[in-house]
């Protein structure tokens, strides 16, 4: 038994070496080095390689910085937004978005108090909170009543769980519109009246501008801007924050 444990520890120890050795040369770490050296195109490639394997708020954040350095404001804002969607507390991403949009002359997107409150958790965080709180409410409220062993504590926790369910539900309802939010990517994006390349143009959209998707028609996406203007852009000119 003693030998078995020793073998197990040794196996684990030996296996951890290649992991540690590999860490320094992960695409993410490589991208960081290339970024520091000012090799932004190579850094972008490395980060994209990292993105194909895994996903994190920091990875999207670094991608946003790299796109910023390459002068691609649209993709930069998109990746900063993705970073914020995964980690709403990432203050730096919000600052960088503000900086980029300010530089591009885009007016800040006015956020309400409710919107700010919803950024306590990510969208999926709110979904899980609501679901768990819902089941907890059922378990703490209904089951003790059936059993006939409802105590003050179970009632108190049931009330808290019910409150959390309601709060989570309200936050999800509020954030629902945000699911269709996306970012204009390219500099020459034209907002068109109809989903055809020959359609008259309503206005030109700056990269980094927010637009909400209202559906897809062929190669075009119908979008609505914050001021209510709606039209069509080519699907390569707009990308959603949430996939």
């Amino acid at each position: 038994m003693k030998n078995f444990i020793l073998i197990l520890i040794a196996t684990f120890f030996l296996q951890s070496f290649p992991l540690l050795a590999e860490d320094a040369f992960t695409p993410f770490a490589r991208g960081n080095i290339q970024y520091q050296e000012g090799k932004y195109a190579e850094a972008l490639e490395s980060y994209q390689q990292a993105l194909s394997g895994s996903n994190s708020a920091n990875l999207h954040y670094n991608l946003g910085n790299t796109y910023s350095q390459l002068g691609d404001a649209g993709n930069a804002v998109l990746h900063f937004e993705k970073a914020l969607a995964l980690d709403p507390g990432m203050h730096d991403a919000a600052l960088n978005i503000s900086w980029l949009r300010d530089k591009a002359g885009l007016t800040e997107w006015e956020t309400t108090v409710w919107q700010k409150l919803t950024t306590i958790l990510s969208y999926n965080g709110w979904v899980w909170l609501t679901v768990i709180a819902f089941w907890a409410t059922l378990a703490l409220w209904i089951l003790p009543r059936i059993i006939g062993r409802s105590s003050l504590f179970s009632r108190l926790f049931a009330f808290l769980a019910a409150t959390a369910t309601l709060l989570g539900g309200a936050a999800l309802l509020w954030m629902n519109k945000d699911l269709s939010r996306g970012v204009i990517l390219t500099a020459d994006t034209q907002l068109r009246v109809a989903p055809t390349p020959e359609s008259p143009e309503l206005t030109q959209l700056a990269p980094g501008r927010y637009a909400w998707s209202e559906g897809k028609q062929g190669q075009f996406i119908r979008i609505r801007l914050a001021d209510g203007t709606a039209g069509y852009v080519h699907s390569t000119e707009w990308a959603p924050v949430y996939q």
Binding site: F28, N55, N58, L86, H91, S98, W99, Y123, I146
Partner: protein, 590 residues
């Protein structure tokens, strides 16, 4: 021979008559050539009145594309209103096209709307000139309303922003409403919009009481030389007369256009020799510069705030230029205007520069020379902002990466929160917590599978618990189930005893089984053993037929006989009695 000649002459005469009739009839048609006339609805207007200029084109239905007329001192509406007329007078049809423009003379006097040539159906036609005379407003009307500029005294400089008041006097007792907001006339001035909520007060002028309405606007001359400035406004007022042509007598209202007349302002160029640091700021300013901190590290930005406070052309001044800042990286400033009230010429213009020291050799923020032009003193004013001491420490990053950090690419560990949003925040060194993806979790099938499992578990648990609770709370149900369980138990034992030819046991179990079944049927709670045959007969009276009752009696008596007198039996009898027992139990439980 005469007869045929006479007939022939008559026919010829008729043909000549028909020809003459057609020829005479065609004469007016051939004479209907296109004629063009022009005129105004009222050739003598009163100052402030609006007129209508019309071009009439007869004998055509085609509408020419004519631009509005151009006449010095008269403003025409942009698009012509077009109307077609058809008249039949003495069998003669006349068609006419009319193009009308409303116009407003800007002053009193005699005006000529010049003639011109228009093209119609490939031919040129002359439009005659028209004369309009504008007479001064009557003294009575003039005493009702007055519009005038209240401008600052003296010359103004090109690019200077100054406040001007447009004053409307309405004699007390005259009911008037604003029909059109004031408009400033004068191409050499830029003006801020007239406010929607003008100041209103009562005043006396030449011994007459007026309501005074004052709009304050900011004017900026954009060209040097004498510049004419005017303003006009549209009012609707009660004439004091009453329209009695309808059932309900109504006060008659009229519109009037008021204008200030032209005021000439001399706009001067700025004096030559503007000092370095002049950023086109004209006015009376107090300029200050502040640093947010005097201690920094290499690569870390400081905020240099330069504030122009006072009265002047804030909207037209440029950001000051920072020269001599070697060793510093300067970012384009962020500007913000903080207005004092609603005025655009009073307040503070703040320029925030981000300046980044690039080495530890830097000890000061260099002095800044700025200059403004003061129109009151008619001279440039130079402002020197003294140099400010700063302590620049080395970057807190290691030397190998110092160069890259100085380019805004600082690398910090996760959790270090930047305090500024004015530069790109540094990248993250660690990968952070891996996340699945950005797809909402509810779009994943696994999510719903988990919810389904949880629902199934919860429903099952609820049902089980409900059943348990029912069994605990419903005593009768519990008793019934226990009785059913005992009946089945006794029946099983009776079957076993029958199979083993154990008559004593069989009849004993059969007796108990019947007792329990009767209890179950009668929903009694007493102990089954206490039920005797007499009781059973009494309880089941009228509920089962006599044959079945006889079978019960037989089973009971046989059991008693076995117990007390050693009654003998055969194997076949046990089987028959078990069959009887089963039938009786089914009957009792039904």
């Amino acid at each position: 021979m005469h007869a045929p000649d006479a007939t022939g002459n008559q026919t010829m005469t008729r043909l000549i008559h028909i020809f003459l009739f057609i020829w005479i009839s065609s004469l007016p048609l051939a004479a209907q050539q296109i004629t063009v006339r022009a005129g105004v609805d009222n050739p003598v207007l009163t100052e402030g009145q609006t007129g209508t200029y019309t071009i009439q084109i007869q004998n055509t239905t085609s509408v020419p594309d004519i631009p509005p007329p151009e006449a010095a001192g008269i403003t025409f509406s942009g698009n012509a209103s077009v109307s077609n007329y058809t008249q039949i007078i003495n069998g003669r049809t006349t068609m006419e096209v009319r193009l009308s423009w409303s116009f407003r003379p800007s002053r009193t006097g005699r005006f000529e709307i010049p003639g011109r040539t228009i093209q119609l159906q490939g031919r040129n036609y002359n439009v005659p000139a028209t004369i309009v005379e504008v007479q001064p407003m009557s003294e009575e009307m003039r005493s009702r309303f007055l519009l005038e500029w209240d401008l600052p005294d003296g010359d103004v400089y090109v690019g200077q922003t100054f406040s001007a008041n447009l004053k409307l006097y309405v004699r007390r007792g005259v009911e008037a409403q604003l029909e059109r907001m004031p408009e400033h006339v004068g191409e050499r001035f830029l003006s801020s919009p007239f406010p929607n909520n003008p100041k209103q007060e009562n005043t006396t002028r030449n011994g007459i009481s007026y309501t005074l309405v004052t709009w304050t606007t900011e004017l900026t001359p954009i060209q040097t030389g004498p510049a004419e400035l005017s303003a006009n406004i549209g009012l609707r007022f009660d004439t004091g007369r009453v329209d009695r042509s309808t059932f309900f007598a109504r006060p008659i209202q009229e519109s009037i256009q008021l204008n200030t007349g032209y005021t000439t302002i001399s706009v001067r160029d700025l004096p030559p020799g503007a000092p370095p640091g002049f950023n086109n700021s004209i006015g009376q300013f107090k300029v200050t510069a502040t640093l947010d901190t005097h201690k920094a590290r290499v690569g870390e930005p400081l905020t240099l705030k330069i504030t122009y406070a006072g009265q002047g052309n804030f909207q037209r001044m440029r950001a000051p230029e920072l020269s001599g800042f070697s060793g510093w990286r300067i970012y384009p400033p962020k500007s913000q205007f903080i207005a004092e009230g609603e005025s655009t010429s009073r307040g503070q213009q703040v320029y925030e520069f981000l300046i980044v020291p690039e080495s530890t050799d830097i000890t000061t923020v260099p002095s800044i020379q700025l200059a403004t032009f003061n129109p009151q003193t008619k001279a440039y004013q130079t402002i020197l902002i003294e140099e400010q001491k700063v302590e620049v420490a080395p970057s807190n990053m290691d030397g190998s990466s110092l160069h890259s950090f100085a380019r805004d690419n600082r690398l910090t560990q996760n959790g270090q929160t930047a305090t500024r949003g004015d530069v790109l925040q540094p990248i993250r060194a660690d990968f952070g917590k891996p996340s699945s993806n950005l797809t909402p979790v509810w779009r994943n099938q696994r999510f719903w599978l988990i919810q389904g499992i949880l629902s199934a578990f919860f429903i099952s648990a609820t049902l089980i618990l409900l059943r348990q609770r029912n069994s605990q709370t419903n005593r009768k149900a519990r008793l019934r189930r226990e009785q059913e369980r005992r009946i089945q138990q006794y029946l099983q034992q009776a079957r076993k005893a029958s199979a083993q030819q154990d008559a004593a046991a069989f009849y004993n179990h059969a007796q108990r089984c019947i007792q329990e079944a009767v209890h179950r049927r009668m929903q009694r709670e007493a102990r089954a053993e206490s039920l005797h045959l007499g009781d059973i007969e009494m309880l089941l009276q009228g509920q089962i037929d006599s044959e079945n009752m006889e079978d019960i009696r037989s089973l009971f008596t046989t059991a008693d006989a076995l117990k007390f007198s050693g009654f003998s039996h055969s194997a076949s009898q046990l089987e028959q009695d078990f069959a009887k027992l089963e039938r009786i139990i089914r009957l009792l439980l039904s």
